[in-house]
């Protein structure tokens, strides 16, 4: 078996599994309980959160642990409070009076539920569905990308209005691996903020970034990137599924997603997923430790694939994560390739319509200007820790063979 779909899921690393194991049956205590063993579990949990937080240059208290990245993205959009910027009145919990003379805190738990202000929420058109769908729910407006997959900064500037409060741009795209120039986006946001302040307009303007794909492949620092909210995902970095986190800077104020015991700073009540977070922390620790080595390794494998594979057109030529190779083949139905490769034990993904994408063509490939034919012939190969160099050569050979077979079949 050669697994080339690490962007979809990664196996839980053995060390991660080992780190989690004691917290299921042995150290099972509720972190909120009063007795000492429970306090120890609580301390371990907090330490694990700190490990995750430090990996992105944040504090444990900045993180809200969620059940995966989708929930973290939803938390960011659904629960962001309407707020003026900079707000000092927030601390004293005094109502903030808006321009139209009413208390926003008194009327609205979450600003985005008020529809009709499309520019309040901007998101990159190539975002994952867990951003796109929730953004659409609240009337968000999409920002286009350039043919190379990078955010169209000019369009961003044009679309930011005095209403805009949140901009969401992923750190690395999940279909192309395209690394967005977040620092550039943050710089534009800072300028807009300054300009707003000059005019006495105090509305907040926050940057959210879904970094699910990038945590083990890029050196992430929230301050350096200039993000206010950031989504993390354990399942993409050899940690357990169903565990994620939202980094929330002091600039962003959220309402609770769930109500209950007040865990996660009161934003997401519910007994902590201790083993999950312990595993997440171990995965993050490993990712940090091997970051440079892995990047080098993946970059070399990408090179091998690009030189060994034949007859393709490379889609993600630049600005991509080292582990992503997105190709397209002319006059080939990539979904057939997926099934043919599956028979030979090679697992890959496609952006083509049908099952791979619930019957919908990849909105990402469409956004970067690919034709329907190109999309139908597109393959996404994402290498990772399950692979070896031999496997990469072998996979290239198998893919070449399958492509040839398909061309033969089509020409009778």
């Amino acid at each position: 078996m050669i697994y080339l779909d690490h962007a979809a899921a990664t196996p839980v690393d053995r060390r991660v599994l080992e780190a989690m194991e004691p917290y299921f049956a042995e150290k099972f205590y509720n972190p909120s309980a009063a007795y000492l063993p429970a306090k120890e579990v609580s301390a371990d949990y907090e330490a694990a959160k700190a490990t995750i937080a430090h990996a992105i240059g944040a504090k444990a208290s900045d993180l809200v642990i969620t059940a995966g990245a989708t929930e973290a993205n939803n938390l960011a959009f659904t629960c962001l409070k309407p707020r003026e910027y900079p707000s000092f009145s927030e601390r004293s919990l005094a109502p903030v009076v808006t321009g139209i003379g009413r208390s926003v805190f008194a009327t609205s738990a979450n600003m985005l539920l008020e529809r009709g202000h499309s520019s309040r929420l901007l998101y990159l058109v190539t975002e994952h569905d867990s951003v796109r769908r929730v953004a659409e729910q609240y009337g968000g407006e999409a920002i286009g990308v350039l043919p190379n997959g990078l955010i169209d900064l000019e369009e961003l500037k044009r679309k930011i209005t005095d209403e805009t409060e949140l901009i969401s741009v992923s750190l690395a795209n999940n279909e192309l691996g395209t690394i967005q120039p977040l620092a550039e986006v943050a710089r534009i946001i800072r300028e807009v903020k300054l300009e707003r302040m000059k005019r006495g307009l105090k509305r907040q303007l926050l940057l959210h970034s879904d970094a699910s794909q990038a945590l083990n492949l890029l050196d992430i620092n929230v301050a350096r990137l200039g993000v206010d909210l950031m989504t993390l995902n354990a399942a993409k970095v050899y940690g357990p599924k169903g565990v994620g986190a939202l980094y929330v800077s002091h600039e962003a104020k959220l309402s609770p997603l769930t109500y209950g015991g007040g865990q996660e700073n009161g934003l997401r009540s519910g007994t902590e997923n201790v083993p999950g977070v312990i595993g997440f922390a171990e995965a993050v620790r490993m990712a940090k430790e091997h970051l440079n080595g892995n990047r080098k390794k993946y970059a070399a494998w990408r090179k091998i694939l690009l030189s060994e594979l034949q007859g393709y057109e490379l889609i993600n030529k630049q600005h991509a994560l080292d582990s992503f190779v997105v190709l397209c083949y002319n006059d080939v139905d990539a979904e057939r390739l997926v099934f043919l490769l599956e028979e030979k034990g090679v697992y890959v993904a496609t952006g083509a319509a049908c099952a791979a994408s619930k019957g919908v063509k990849s909105h990402v490939l469409k956004a970067i200007g690919l034709t329907n034919e190109q999309i139908a012939g597109s393959l996404r190969l994402t290498v990772g820790e399950t692979n070896t160099e031999e496997q990469i050569y072998e996979a290239a050979k198998i893919i070449n063979g399958v492509i040839e077979g398909e061309y033969d079949r089509c020409s009778g």
């Binding site: 979904e335 057939r336 099934f339 099952a355 791979a356 019957g359 079949r409 020409s411 009778g412």
Partner: protein, 418 residues
């Protein structure tokens, strides 16, 4: 095309007949495609996209079914296409079904789907695309007889699906292959396993796929505006409880009745049966009397009759599809042995069939029969133009269901129960 470059290949290609096979992603249609491929046909698999809407609490599995179908096609090395019949399916099958339910009937959408979609639109499109035949994974057989195809019951009695196929046109049937009609289900499964297809799909495809796991009731709730109403005991006219909407209930049904236990009506532990529906006033009538006349009958009036061509040895076969419009107001209660001239071809043929049922029955009543439900046993009966008569009383099937006639293994046609 490259195959024309070799003379040998060229000849083979020219001899190969082209088949378009409907593939649902289930084992039956998968094995059908496999058999056709092994028999040397040029096979193209087609997934008919009939419904893709998600329903509350249920994700429509069409994309997964499609992937299963395609995976099998790819493994067999055959071409594969997706044909979108969603609009037609909605108009011809779903609207019909909803309309019938609104009227208080219990329609069979699978029969309509075969008549309007699979053996009409799919057939026509396949022929236009150059097919010699179409094929499906139905358990049924087709045999030509004097130039007219006869629809025969499947060898696997348990799986026979001719009940759903009795209304498909002779023309389509003449160009249809049922590759697994002569096989038993276990044989089909075994063949799939032997050829390594058993891992290519997840599950068997279901009949009314789009209601799948939601259930018909929840599906109908999405489309039919219903009001709660009274459940009354038919003998006393007392209100015993309330229902969610009369259209959801069928005659003879005993489950899903919300009866008020406090009035003591349930104390004797005997169940109530639905015996009557007053759709206009939204009242469901129930009775404890299992022998209530509404539940039992020895005759069934039919409408929208459809008789399969039944070539008589003496005369050439005639097309005999009886459309509902041509028969609606026809006083068809002619006596069984009447020799009076009949003005319409349709009438003549239906009566010919009726005669045949009756005469055959005299020969051997076990050989002839009516099926009132998919997989139900054949019941001996006579037919006199619009009414089925049974020797003994039967439990009354819901109106809107079909009665399908058989002479031995031959499906003669049938009609919709009034």
């Amino acid at each position: 095309m490259q195959y024309f470059s070799l003379v040998g290949n060229y000849v083979i290609i020219m001899l190969m007949k082209t088949v378009y096979v409907g593939m649902s992603g289930g084992v039956d249609s998968s094995v059908s495609a496999l058999i056709l491929k092994e028999q040397g046909y040029k096979v193209t698999g087609v997934y008919m996209k009939n419904w893709s809407r998600d329903l509350p609490g249920m994700k429509c599995p069409w994309a997964e079914d499609l992937a299963d179908a395609k995976r099998v096609a790819v493994r067999l090395g055959i071409d594969f296409e997706v044909w979108d019949f969603e609009k037609a399916y909605r108009e011809k099958v779903v609207e019909y079904m909803l309309e019938e339910f609104r009227k208080g009937n219990t329609p069979n959408p699978d029969i309509m789907c075969n008549q309007e979609i699979k053996f009409k639109l799919f057939y026509e499109k396949a022929m236009a695309a150059g097919a010699d035949y179409i094929a499906t994974g139905h358990y049924a057989r087709v045999k030509p007889f004097s130039g007219t195809p006869r629809l025969l019951r499947a060898v696997d009695e348990n799986k026979d699906q001719t009940y759903f196929l009795y209304r498909i046109s002779d023309e389509a049937l003449a160009h249809t292959i049922f590759p697994i009609g002569g096989m038993l289900k276990p044989e089909v499964k075994k063949l799939a396993e032997k050829k390594g297809l058993h891992n290519a799909y997840k599950k068997e495809s279901m009949g009314v796929c789009f209601v799948g796991e939601v259930g018909m009731k929840d599906f109908l709730k999405e489309y039919i505006d219903v009001q709660p109403g009274e459940i009354r005991e038919i003998e006393s006219d007392h209100v015993l409880g309330y229902h969610e909407g009369a259209v959801f209930y069928t005659i003879g049904q005993r489950h899903g009745l919300y009866l008020d236990g406090e009035k003591g009506v349930m104390n004797d532990g005997l169940p109530y049966y639905v015996v009557k529906k007053d759709i206009d006033n939204n009242i469901v009538y129930v009775s404890k009397n299992l022998n209530h006349a509404a539940i039992w009958t020895n005759n069934l009036k039919l409408k929208d009759l459809f008789f399969r061509s039944w070539p008589r040895p003496a005369s050439p076969s005639t097309k005999v599809a009886c459309s509902s419009s041509s028969r609606k107001n026809e006083p068809a209660r002619s006596s069984l042995v009447s020799s009076g001239s009949l003005p319409r071809v349709a009438g003549a043929n239906s009566r010919a069939a009726a005669l045949r049922i009756a005469t055959s029955q005299k020969k051997s009543s076990s050989n002839i029969g009516v099926r009132l439900r998919h997989r139900a046993p054949l019941i001996p009966a006579t037919f006199d133009g619009d009414t089925l008569r049974f020797e003994s009383e039967i439990k009354r099937p819901a109106s809107g269901q079909s009665a399908v006639f058989y002479d031995g293994e031959v499906c003669l046609g049938g009609g919709i129960i009034v």
